[in-house]
Structures are given as C-alpha cells and as structure tokens.
Symmetry: C2
C-alpha cells in the first residue's frame, strides 16, 4: 500500500514515555497504597465484586521487578467508537511485552469484543505494528460495539481465554467497556481463571475521567480537529460577513468536546448540555440565548456568527427529555399501532390523545421535518435516535421564527442567513496529536507493566498530563474504584461513573466568564490544523480543559 507523506513521516515518530518507563524495565517495581472504595454504593459493589473489589492503587517505583521478564500471552480488544491513538496503545503494549520477553505474544481480537467471544484473532508481528504506529483509526483489528453481558457471553470469553492460554486481556474502551472489564475480572476470578483483565481509557467524548484518569485518549486530537474546522469557519464568517454558522459537535451525552472547542475558538454562542439541564432551560430559552447574540451583533452591523451545539443537547432539555421519554414509552407499548399510521397527520392525531399536554404542545411546536424525524428514525430497541435529529437545523428554524417576531416588533433590524454543519466522523480517526500519540503509547506500555506484575481489574492510568511526558506518572487504578450503581433499563447496575461537565469546574467557568463578551464582539481564535512538527507550544500543548482543570 502506498502511504501518504505524513503517514511515512509519522512512522518515524518515537512516542515519549514517562521517565520511569523509558529506562530499564527490570527496575520498574510496583508500590501499593491502601485498599480503595468505590465512587459510591460501596456496600452493593463490594457484594457484587467479591473477589475484585477494593484493591489498592498501584504506583510505579524504581526497584527490582522479578516478574517483568516472564513470557506472556496477551489479547487486546478495541471497543466502541474510534478515538485517535488506539493504534499507539497497542504499539506501546506490544513494545512493552517484547521488551519484557521476546517470546511474549500479543493477539488482537478482531472487530471488538465479539472477536474475543468468537475467538477471531490475529497475532501481531513487528511488521504489522510498524504499519500502524502513530496513525489514526482502529483498522489494525477493527472495533465493535458488542457488550459482554449475558452468561453465555461471559462463558464464551472464558472459553477463548482458556483456549488461547491468555495471561491477560486488555480492553481499550470507554466507560461501558471498562465496566465490562470489571465484570470480566470478577467472572474470571470466580471461575478460577488466572487470565488478568486490564482496561484503557478511550473516548473522544472525554467523559471517562476522574481524579486518577485525567483524560481519556483521543479527546485531545478530536477536539483539536474540530477546533481547526470551527476556527476556519469563524475566519470565513468574519471575512464574508453574511452567515451564521450553526455547528453541531459529536458527543452524545457529555459536552466536554463542545466546551473544549468553545475555549479554543471563542464562538459567539457555545451551548453546554449540562448547564441546560441544571437550569431547566426550555427550547424557547435556548433559542432566546442565541437570538440575543444575533440581535446584539446586528446592532453593530455584524450579521455573522458561530454557534456551537453539543450533539446530545436536546436530550438534556428537560421538556424535550420528557417528550422523548413519553414517545419511547408509547413506542414500547403501542409501537405497531403508530407504525401503521402512514401519514404524518394521522401520526400526530394518534399522539394527540396519548402524549401529556405539555409534551404534546412541544411536539406540535417543532418544525415538521424535525417532528417527523423524531418518529421515523428509531434504534433497534425502538428508541428515538437522538443522534439522527438535526438539532442544528431545529435551532436554526426556531431562531429564524424568533428573529422574524423581533423584526416585526422593531427590536431587530439585521439580516439572518444560517448554515448548518455537523462534525464528528472527521475527528475520530485523525492522526493522533503528539499528545495522544505519547499518551496512548504510555497507556499501552503501562498496561504491560500492570500485566507483567500480575495485576487484574485495573485500568491503565497515566497522570500529571499537563507536564512534559517524562514527568508523567504511570500506574494502575482499580476499576471498582471508579464505579457506582445506576439504574439502567429499570434496574440497578454497577457502572463506571460518567464524568459530565462540572458547572463549578474551571473549564466551564472560563467559558461562562467570557461568553457575554464573545456573544457580542468577534473574539474568534483560529487554532489551525494539528501540527506534529515545529515549535513546542504549537505541537505539544494539551487541551485547554486539561490545563484549566489542573492549574
């Protein structure tokens, strides 16, 4: 395969490691802290994770590690949506394993967790790994969204682990996949299988984080890629002076991506789902916030602007959430009846008698394309596919209507012409930034040390990420430490707590302090394309979120 000039150049990049990992690995020993408790619901979790609950945090210290040179067979899985740097986690893990013992083997299970369940795997060679170093995507083995949930699935995982004589399985994934890793740890232990389980924190959404996981990998690159595009559009908007750009950004629940992009590009409006929910904002209020910026700018003869919208926004609008819940419940109970109605008018009439008054009023107030989308696109469980709803177009339609009213009342004299964008797939498989390349490689290498040291039920952790890589602090965090109990599909489940945007945190507060000015004035900042070479302040800076959270 002929590869691009950048890809060829990136092959030569040697990712940086924390100092302790870049010397002789025989001198990397583990030191353990006190037993740990879960994020909440410790009693219930201690009961569910009898054999794996409450392990101590593992730190790496200089010392003799007898175990590190034994030959190992390890399997690795990429789980869920792509995030830049996944290939480097595997490369770091591979290099660590081979550094430990040339006879160690790394298997890649194909197509996500189903590869483990169905025992479809490839054994990595140096040549394979070299083809994927510092590249984006998950195509080295593919990914998948299968979850390990049923007794049959757990048994299948165990069968493969036994058959392949796996010393360990590394699951590279988000909060759900790492919850799976915790469950698998307990299951293997309960079945006297010595296969260890180690997780790695992946997700561009940035919502797998806590005191010990400062960032999930891929967030840095994805946010920077979207910020490049937003900055380019801002500059275009300011040059042409005639469009309002409504830009929706991927991220189903948490708004970290939108917040980070907002801090990097300083748009006129940056909506944050968590704030919308906390303030119990209505769709009308959100549209008023946007129109307030449009009106203020028009007073200064500025008829352009940029609005950032998190993909999951409408799920956080309490009235919309209520509407969607009512629709989902109706579909679950009477889905077939509704499906039989072939015309939209018939569907509206059918819903008229069944939705609550408030939900019905909101439903009827939506632009008809959006209302139709709500009914038409449903996932295999019959739920509304929120990601298919064109929130950006919904907001444009509602803003146009509101501005017309304001114009009629004399309160607005500008011109409003809007364009819609959605960025998501553009950033999930980009070449990892230097930060993500280094961070992922370090996470993979750290996973190796945890495995070689005999640990199970841990997530690979690399901290102190705002410092240069050599000062990063690698270690292992017990998976149960990040867990709590949440209701899922009506019953309590042990899950890793999702980190939503903290309204009291510095990143959001920085946005909140500046947004009035950004709404009225043009304070755009243009980050440009991710640079892999050149001045360090251009190439090696972590996200603004990370810097603010740790300043």
């Amino acid at each position: 395969m002929e590869t691009s000039a950048l890809q060829n150049a990136r092959y030569k990049y040697q990712p940086k490691l924390p100092a302790i990992l870049s010397h002789s690995i025989e001198e990397v020993a583990l030191s353990f802290g006190e037993p740990t408790a879960s994020a909440a619901d410790s009693e219930a979790l201690a009961e569910m994770f009898k054999l794996s609950y409450g392990k101590p945090i593992a730190s790496f210290v200089k010392g003799k590690n007898e175990k590190i040179k034994r030959p190992l067979t390890v399997g690795v899985i990429l789980s869920g949506g792509q995030a830049p740097g996944g290939h480097n986690v595997i490369a770091g893990l591979y290099d660590g394993l081979k550094k430990g013992n040339a006879n160690s083997a790394l298997l890649g299970f194909l197509g996500g967790p189903s590869g483990l369940l169905e025992d479809r795997a490839v054994e990595f060679t140096g040549a394979i790994i070299d083809e994927y170093r510092n590249t984006g995507g998950f195509d080295i083995i593919g990914s998948g969204r299968t979850k390990i949930e049923t007794p049959e699935q757990f048994a299948a995982a165990l069968t493969t682990a036994k058959k392949r004589k796996l010393d360990a399985v590394v699951i590279i994934g988000g909060d759900d996949s790492n919850t799976n890793a915790a469950l698998l740890t307990e299951y293997f232990a309960a079945n006297n299988l010595e296969t260890q389980v180690i997780g790695c924190p992946k997700t561009i959404d940035g919502d797998l984080k806590n005191e010990y996981i400062e960032a999930s990998f891929g967030f840095d690159t994805a946010a920077k890629t979207y910020s490049e595009l937003i900055g380019n559009i801002e500059r275009d908007a300011a040059s042409a002076g005639k469009y309002w750009h409504f830009i929706k950004l991927m991220g189903r629940s948490a708004s970290h991506i939108t917040l980070e992009c907002g801090l990097q590009t300083r748009p006129n409006v940056c909506l944050i789902s968590e704030e919308v929910e906390a303030k119990n904002s209505s769709m009308t209020q959100i549209v008023e916030q946007i129109c307030s910026s449009v009106v203020k700018r028009a007073e200064n003869k500025i008829n352009f602007g940029v609005v950032l919208i998190p993909e999951g926004l409408i799920e956080f609008v309490p009235e919309m959430k209520k509407l969607i819940k009512e629709l989902n419940d109706l579909m679950a109970d009477y889905g077939d009846e509704l499906t039989e109605k072939t015309s939209f008018v018939d569907q509206i009439n059918w819903l008229d008698n069944r939705l609550s008054g408030e939900a019905n009023a909101l439903f009827k107030s939506l632009p008809s394309e959006i209302a139709q989308q709500l009914l038409a696109d449903r996932d295999p469980h019959g739920n509304v596919q929120v990601s298919r709803i064109d929130t950006e177009k919904l907001l444009i339609g509602m803003a146009e209507k509101k501005l017309k009213e304001l114009k009629n009342s004399g309160a607005y004299k500008g011109k409003f012409s809007a364009l819609a964008h959605f960025f998501g797939y553009e950033g999930r498989s980009a070449f990892p930034s230097n930060f993500d390349a280094d961070y992922c490689y370090s996470l993979g290498f750290t996973a190796f040390v945890l495995i070689a040291s005999g640990l199970t039920g841990y997530i690979s952790s690399v901290r102190n990420l705002t410092a240069p890589a050599e000062k990063w602090i690698p270690g292992g965090i017990p998976l149960t430490m990040m867990m709590n109990m949440e209701r899922r599909h009506g019953s309590p489940k042990p899950v890793i707590k999702k980190a939503l945007v903290e309204l009291e945190g510095k990143p959001f507060k920085t946005l909140a302090e500046n947004r009035e000015k950004w709404a009225a004035d043009t304070c755009y900042q243009f980050p440009g394309a991710i640079q892999y070479y050149g001045p360090s302040d251009v190439c090696d800076q972590p996200t603004k979120t990370l810097i603010l959270e740790h300043s």
Copy 2:
C-alpha cells in the same frame, strides 16, 4: 486580540520568493515578447479592447529598472469567495511597494469591489499587515461579490481612482473578477486615466488556469484541508466497517477540487462533472456507477465506502440541466403563478402541464425533499440555487432504492447505511499551506513589479510551480490573452475562459486508470492535516494536479 499558538508561529514565517525577486529590486527589469492574441474570438476582442488588446507577455530579467523606486499609491481589492493566501498577496504587494519606496502607499478597499465604487478604504500600515501575514481569510479588508458592470459603476471606479490619485488598482479574484479587471483597464485607458490595473488569480475552484497561470491560489490549501477530512473519514469508515460516506465538495462548476481530493485520498467513487457531461450520463447511470462499487465490495463482505461528489454535479447532468433550465425559464415567465401555489401537490400539478415530457418524468422521479428544494430555494434572479440542493442526499436516496431492487433480484446481499457530508466553508479560510503562503506572497510582489514598471491590463503570473520557490518564474500575462467570447444571459460577452477538468489531461487520466481498482478494493490514502513545519515532502509539496499536469 489573543491569537492562537499556530497563528503566532505563522507570523514568523518568511514566505519564499522566486530568486529574481529576492535580491535587489533595482535589478529587476522587464523583457517583452511578441504581441499576443486572445484565447479565441480575437477579432471581436481586439475591437472591444482597442487600447489594451494584444499586449506582449512580460518577463523579469536581471537589468536596470529606472522606474521601480518611484513612490506609488496603489489600491487593492479582494473579490469573491475566500481563498487561503489572500492576505499574503496583500503582504507581498505591500512589502514590494515599501521596498521600492518607503513613501509608497497601499490602500485596501473595503468589502470587495463596492469599496472602490463607494470609496471606502483603509491605508495599510506595517502593523496592520503584520497582523495578517500567513493567515487565512479575507478579513483584513473583507471581500464582496459586486461586479463592475454598469456605466455608472465604471464611472464611480474612475472617480475614486482619480480622487485617490491611484497609480494602480490590484484586483484579487477569480475569472469574473479578472474579466472585470480587463474591462476596467480598457475603460481607464479610454478615459485617459493613467491608473493601471493588475489582476491576481484567486479561487479555490482551480478553474482560473492556462499555460501561463499554472494554478489559482487557495486551491492547494483548500484541497488539502478537504483531503485531510476525507482521509480521516476513510480511516473511520475502514475502522467501523459499517457506513458509506457521501461527501460533497465545494466547487460550483469545475471539478478540480474533487479530482485533486480523489487523487489524494483514493476513495471508492469519485464523480467528475465534466465526465458526466461529456458522456451524457443520466442520474440513473451515475447511481449505477456508485451501486456497482457497493455491490462489488459487498461481495467481499465490505459494507463501507466513500463517494466524492462535486458540488455542481447535477448542473452537468444533461437531463438535470434541461430540467433546471426549464424550471428557470418557467420561473422567469410565470414565477408568481407558481409562488401562489402553496402546496407541493399543487406545484407539481402546475408544472405537469408546463414541463416537457422528459423533464417532467425526471422531476417526478426525484425524492420529494429534493424536488421541493428545487422549487423553494431560488437566488435573487429567480434561478434554482444549485448549491442549496443536497446532491449527496439525492444520490443516497437513489442508491438506496437501486440497492433494494438489486437485493430483491438477488444481485446484492450487503448492508447499506449511508451518511452525508458537505465540505466547503472549512477550507476557504484555512491558514495557507507553505505553498500558498509562498505563491501568494510572490504573486503580490510580482504585481508590485508590474505596477512599478508601468504595466496595465496584466495578471500577475508565477510559473514553474512544481520546482522549489527560488526557481519559480514571475512575470505578467496580458488579461486579454486569456479571454474569449461567451454567451451570458443571451448575449455575447468577453470573458476569461474557465478551465474545466480536461478529460485528456493527466490528472483525470490518473483517476480513470485507477478507479476500477479503488472502487472494489480499499486503497485509501490518509493525507492528514496540513503541516507547516517538518520534513519538506510533508510540508512543501504542491497538489497532485499540478505535479501531474507538469510532469
């Protein structure tokens, strides 16, 4: 204003100049060739451009240039859509002027040609220029789409030129703007005004080129920015293995952008408008081409892919062109009648009696959203706004229908799930690549030499662009040399000939030779983000189009 790390770094970049311009400017003399003829219609053009037709090509040679140090007052205009590097044309022009004589002045007319007509201008200072060096966008003075067409507009331009005592006006724009420059040259000469007129070749579309204009500026950066995104999406598609991405790319008429992006990223399908027109392809045939790739890949259990679509495609489909022309004609004659029909059904019935049989059949076969769009979105002249038509969604809808038929007949057994994208605004105002930064700066500097040497009616030309910048060949090409007569709005007009994709040219032939393989296999190439620093083969390569055209 706080600027980004990349912007700060780019301020320090010193664009490269052709060797002859990087030494003492007193030694840059002009040498002239033979009188030139226009691209076609020489008699008619010689008649229309009595005072400015047929000038010789101007080359730069080492020699004494007496005129180059005189103080000058020059005005500059940014015309039309943004293209990366516009700020550097102005910086090159400014630096040249100041190098010639510290008392020379450069005025920037605000908001495009209307700034000249209404005499709205700013005088550049070093501080202003420094804030915009090597940045994207046209926000230094803004751009506009006003054309200088009416006698009143020509008179207004003359009034401003006189009042401001302009030695020259530089018009930075595409084919239409440079046609304007030619007309203004003639008008000024006919009115005994000594203000010279110089054009600069700008457009991301890449359709302003010929033997002497190897590329219009901005094409390089825009195509590379879109290719970054396409490559990222290809990698994502290959990793997830479940989506076909239909990506529409900006460029209203010529398909150079799509062709260049196709060569850079090797998608499964890359549609070229010029080929569609030449082959007289129907919508059905285009959809069959796409489905042929979908089916072939599905036979190998590959259910993902990437399709590139030039924005102007449907205007090149002869049957669509006919339909759009009929619609435009009907709207021109009976627009009000149609507008009165408030329901889509009434509109269809109204059209039923008025469209020709073929056009009516095609219109009725379109997905209803698209048909509605055709009627709803019209420009101020009542014409169909082709750029508003979601060609990518039209093709997805038609492909879904076709694949369903193929599935029913047993000829297709795959899964087809498609996502639509449109890239345009993301690339027009990106930080210019090193190539565009150097090329634009050289074009601006060359424009200064042409002005200082007393030339009018020329376009700034920098050739030999596949060589390193020091070997580039600057000079001046008479605007009339690039012109011919074309029918516009029913009457013959002198215009600069648009360069469409040559089906016999190497760039298209390279696509054509490879596309069967690319359609069936996965041969994606991932160019990644534009790099400004690092290895030269990553940072300084011109487009594949340019390399192939000049190899």
